[in-house]
């Protein structure tokens, strides 16, 4: 009989995720409540406009199906989730029905009441974005005057309510000289700063976001050093859990392997989740689940594979094949190698 009835450690989460991945249990699901947004960020990967959004009642049905399939962590994102008047109702319904929630928001629409309501949901994470240490830099990206101060106020309201947001900054040409100041500003607000060089192609496959990425020289000379720019291991990155333990659902119910992987698997207005995911998975999903590292025909011999954080969804967008090369991952691997070997520009 049992000697060790329960194992308790944070790394266990990774073990559980690996098991869910092996069993195709959608443990982590990203729910895109809307593509509408009150900001106009220049590099935003969402270049779609959907208006036929799932209603609150439809989301309730979807949430019930996800719980039945074993989902645990839900990440609500947009667009801007708070342009939906019922976003708190949806999140509260999910929480009360045994699902853990995280939120991605630009924080501009947060009020004291909303911040308290979010705190009561006990989110496992809340993320927001800041593109500069000054209003002029931030708003040159968001395109909306006043958005800098609104975002800072929203962050402060969350912190005051006991929620510590993670403030993400994508490194861009416009903010590359302000990165240490951004970190200082975020820390002074009581939040966590997460600066990264990862930029994704758009949902429709356009590479326009990359025109805003900084060059290597400006990164080397900006006074900021990524915490973990180095090798990801001799074997390179492992295949992700997209389509196995992870999936995403669009505002009108399309199911995808991941938010960055625009390979439609089905629609929840036409089929149930278990039909799309488990009972009748399409051929593409079956191939994704069977893929091994050795299938990455363009990557296995690459000298930079130890620096690579290849995204299968980006590879699908950029090469048309989920087992193909990702041009953006290749560029970023080159960048990481150069940042690691400072001076080798």
């Amino acid at each position: 009989m049992s000697i060790q009835p329960a194992r308790t450690q944070r790394p266990l989460l990774h073990e559980v995720m690996a098991k869910c991945s092996r069993l195709n249990i959608p443990m982590q699901v990203v729910l895109e409540l809307t593509y509408r947004c009150n900001l106009r960020c220049s590099h935003c990967y969402i270049d779609l406009a959907e208006t036929d959004e799932l209603s609150f009642d439809e989301w309730k049905e979807v949430l019930g199906q996800l719980k039945e399939e074993g989902s645990i962590y839900l990440l609500f994102t947009g667009g801007e989730i708070m342009v939906r008047n019922d976003f708190l109702e949806i999140a509260t319904y999910a929480r009360r029905n045994g699902l853990l929630i995280g939120l991605l928001t630009n924080c501009t629409l947060i009020t004291p009441d909303i911040s308290r309501a979010i705190a009561e949901l006990r989110p496992f994470s809340i993320g927001t974005s800041l593109y500069g240490a000054t209003a002029s830099t931030h708003e040159s990206v968001t395109g909306v005057p006043g958005s800098f101060h609104k975002t800072l106020e929203g962050i402060q309201l969350l912190v005051a309510a006991g929620v510590v947001p993670t403030v993400q900054t994508i490194v861009m040409q416009t903010n590359v000289q302000e990165l240490p100041q951004i970190e200082e500003l975020v820390e002074s607000l009581g939040a966590r700063s997460d600066i990264n060089i990862g930029m994704a192609p758009s949902k429709t496959g356009s590479d326009f976001p990359f025109q805003y990425a900084p060059g290597v020289e400006s990164l080397l000379n900006c006074g900021w050093q990524p915490e973990t720019p180095g090798p990801t291991g001799e074997q390179g990155p492992q295949l992700c859990k997209a389509g196995k333990a992870n999936c995403s659902i669009s505002p009108h119910g399309d199911v995808f392997p991941c938010i960055l992987f625009p390979m439609k698997l089905g629609n929840l207005r036409e089929s149930s989740f278990d039909s799309i995911w488990r009972l009748e998975p399409c051929a593409e999903l079956r191939y994704l689940r069977s893929m091994r590292r050795s299938d990455l025909y363009a990557c296995n011999g690459c000298e930079l594979r130890a620096y690579c954080q290849r995204c299968t969804g980006s590879a699908y967008i950029e090469s048309g094949r989920m087992d193909g090369p990702s041009s953006s991952a290749c560029r970023q691997a080159q960048l990481r190698w150069q940042l690691t070997e400072v001076g080798e520009v």
């Binding site: 060790q4 009835p5 329960a6 308790t8 559980v16 869910c20 006990r122 496992f124």
Partner: protein
């Protein structure tokens, strides 16, 4: 006759995955994995059973003596209570 019933703590998220159970605290950050025996006991801790009923059920389900089952039930419940995952329901008096 008095009986002390056992219930799962409120706001605990849990999912059965094969023959194990994943239990997550409501902040989403603490993860516990229960083995097969603990999972069997966990699923009986719905507020309607006490240790005696759980022991009897365990003997029926697994080929173990009542002494061994009783020791396991006591040990596992104590550990899960210590972790804050189980609680004693209000004492119930049988008529």
């Amino acid at each position: 006759m008095m009986g002390s019933q056992i219930a799962r703590a409120e706001d605990i998220i849990w999912r059965r995955i094969e023959d194990e159970t994943v239990v997550i605290t409501d902040d989403g950050l603490s993860v516990h994995v229960l083995n097969k025996t603990a999972t069997y006991i966990w699923e009986l801790c719905d507020g309607s059973c006490g240790p005696d009923e759980i022991t009897a059920s365990l003997c029926e389900r697994f080929d173990v003596s009542s002494e061994e089952a009783n020791a396991d039930v006591k040990d596992i419940i104590a550990k899960l209570e210590q972790m804050g995952l189980l609680k004693r329901a209000a004492e119930v008096t049988d008529q």
